[in-house]
Amino acid sequence: MKIHRLVENAPRQIIAESMSDAPGNAVCVSVGDSIENFEENTLRGHGTLVRDDTLVATVCGVVERVNKLITVKTLHRRYGAEVGDVVVGRVTEIGGKRWRIDLQAKQEAQLMLSAVSLPGGIQRRRTAEDELQMREIFKEGDLVSAEVQAVHQDGVVLLHTRSTRYGLLKHGQLVEVSACLVKRQRQHMATFDEYGVGIILGCNGLIWVGIPSTDAVGDSADADMDDASLLESIARIAQSIKVLSRMQMMISTESIGQTARLSLEHGIHASEMGRGDFLKILWQHKE
């Protein structure tokens, strides 16, 4: 059975589920479906079109009404930051007392120098020397985990790493998925104790899989790198995420753990998880 056929048969429920801001009474529309009669004072938003006095959807998605504004929000779209989101991003530029971070959203996010915790944990005013030492903290190309501090009216996203949980990511690998598949949870940083692998589920679709970071300041994780079975577990978790993404299933700590466990039960090696037989098992298990 072709994989895309499995995905196509996913009922509308799943699509509605993944739209976290439109749970129970989600109205799903397809291209050409009429939403309602277009009145004088309604505002037509993205994804709609007026045709013969009727508001018609131009994309497949969920209808969203905000006062008089009617839009159709699609499933796959660029990540839209919200305050409190845990994100994983790559530093693209340094300058002007801030780092510019690529979240694969509509705009680059900004991480101000004042929003990072200085090494040593002391609180003080940032001086000009601190500004010159910015590259010591994060340099271009580094992957960082951060939390969205604020989202301005014009769309500018401000991040912060004011906790020991956030910061530079090392000893691991990145998996990129569609942002809509990452389920909004209470905890976006988790550890799979049975494998000894930690994950950071960035709401922007970038997921970090690696050796779990300890809260203590310092590189205590260096010694663990020599474990081949740990690396194999990291690969397994990473492949679980890739497989869930391919099957268009919601990615959460629970679903990743289930997928990994399923692959172990069926004795499937990490490199073979992408093959049709495991995908079939996964789909059957879902139902």
Binding site: G141, H171, G172, A235, S271, R275
Partner: protein, 415 residues
């Protein structure tokens, strides 16, 4: 692009003989092929990397010095969307050089290793030969572009069928090019199947892996691309830049490559088999029309022509060719067609693949070549356009065993 910490992670893993996706060091990513139903293109996927290949054939004078050989050219291009992500900060001239380098490597592995029989592309020595152009396009880069281009090229050369040409002395010019709708196309003659494989070396040549992912590619020190056949022949080697490899390492790669080539060819064979089935099914649907599967068959009262059974049974194909000959030499039929065509010199080819010089109605529209001698090309139409032609199928309908095979196959497709 990977930062130093990511590269470090990859390297630490490789020192323990572990790859980020859990593969073995000499394991390739899953290989998939997709073919066009008109045998015009092939799309190869190697993990996330995707390449597209298509062939264009042109009948023209042979190149000077080789009067009885056709030619083949490979051209590598990159999809516009990929260009901006892959080569954002690179000089377009360097990008172009990279494309040419890839194209040259594919050319060496196919043409210079004599994988393609160029003499079989000769129609009339000194006068008319087939010139093939294989256009390769990079659709997505997830590491290991040369390999996926090689697979796409191999797939398209295996699946491609060029139009059939027959010598007909009664026609001025002496050649009749048959449309692919009238006559089954002729597959290319390949002597061996070269498979391109790339090996990446890390840690000063200590670790070698096959089929590097994009993360591994950015981490590796050096790369070696070879082209081998499953029979154990080496067609081409490319070691353009990066850290050197020892002689033993290169030999080890070649040995491993031969085994990998075997499994890749098996995947290709399987894909070609299912494509052959799909191709016949599409012809059945095309000739019968969408609504009437029952009308497909050999009964003479059926309007549309039945499917071309040449692809099914070789003995039937020979019989069909034997039956074809008297019709071609029939000048009455040819004259009818000649009057229909505007000016008598133009041929519209249904498929865009074959181009005859002098044919302005070809898709690219730019050809306005005038031949040195007046030639009139026409193709004999073996469709149901005139009553006479249907008689061919009346004759073949007397061959009962083939009919059963065809009906069985038809039933299998038309669920």
């Amino acid at each position: 692009m990977a930062n130093n910490l990511e590269k470090e992670f990859v390297l630490e893993g490789l020192k323990l003989r572990h790859r980020t996706d859990g593969r073995g060091l000499f394991a390739c990513r899953p290989l998939e092929f997709e073919f066009g139903t008109k045998d015009a293109y092939c799309i190869a996927r190697l993990g996330g990397s995707v390449a597209y290949a298509s062939v264009i054939a042109e009948l023209d004078q042979p190149m000077g010095g080789r009067p009885s050989e056709g030619t083949i050219k490979f051209n590598v291009d990159i999809a516009r969307a990929q260009y901006s992500t892959l080569f954002k900060n690179k000089d377009p001239v360097r990008v172009n050089h990279y494309m040419i380098e890839l194209g040259r490597f594919i050319e060496r592995s196919f043409r210079e290793s004599k994988a393609i029989d160029l003499e079989s592309l000769c129609v009339q020595a000194g006068r008319r030969v087939w010139h093939l152009q294989v256009d390769l396009k990079i659709l997505n880069d997830d590491g290991n572009i040369p390999d996926v281009l090689g697979y796409a090229a191999l797939g398209v050369l295996r699946v491609y069928r060029r139009p059939d040409v027959s010598i007909d002395s009664s026609v001025p010019g002496g050649l009749v090019v048959h449309s692919l709708d009238d006559r089954e196309g002729v597959p290319l003659t390949l002597h061996h199947f070269p498979v391109c494989l790339t090996f990446a070396s890390f840690d000063e040549g200590d670790v070698i892996v096959v089929d590097p992912s994009s993360l591994e590619e950015s981490t590796c020190d050096g790369r070696l691309t070879i082209s081998v056949t499953p029979q154990g022949e080496l067609c081409a080697v490319q070691k353009a830049q990066g850290y050197g490899m020892s002689q033993t390492d290169v030999m080890q790669c070649i040995q491993a490559g031969i085994e990998l080539a075997e499994s890749s060819c098996r995947v290709l064979e399987k894909a070609l088999k299912s494509h052959a089935v799909a191709r016949v099914a599409s012809r059945v649907r095309r000739t019968a029309g969408q609504d009437s599967p029952k009308r497909v068959g050999f009964s003479s009262e059926s309007g549309p022509a039945p499917m071309n059974i040449e692809s099914l049974d070789p003995s039937v194909r020979d019989a069909m060719h034997a039956a074809d000959e008297p019709i071609e030499d029939d000048d009455d039929d040819d004259d009818d067609n000649e009057q229909d065509d505007a000016g008598g010199k133009r041929i519209t080819m249904d498929t865009g693949e074959a181009v005859c010089p002098g044919d302005d109605s070809h898709a690219d529209g730019s050809k306005e070549q005038v031949l040195d001698e007046p030639t009139q090309r026409k193709y004999t139409s073996i469709t149901n356009s005139s009553g006479k032609n249907v008689d061919i199928y009346k004759e073949t309908s007397d061959m009962v065993p083939e009919q059963d095979d065809a009906m069985q196959l038809k039933d299998a497709f038309l669920r």
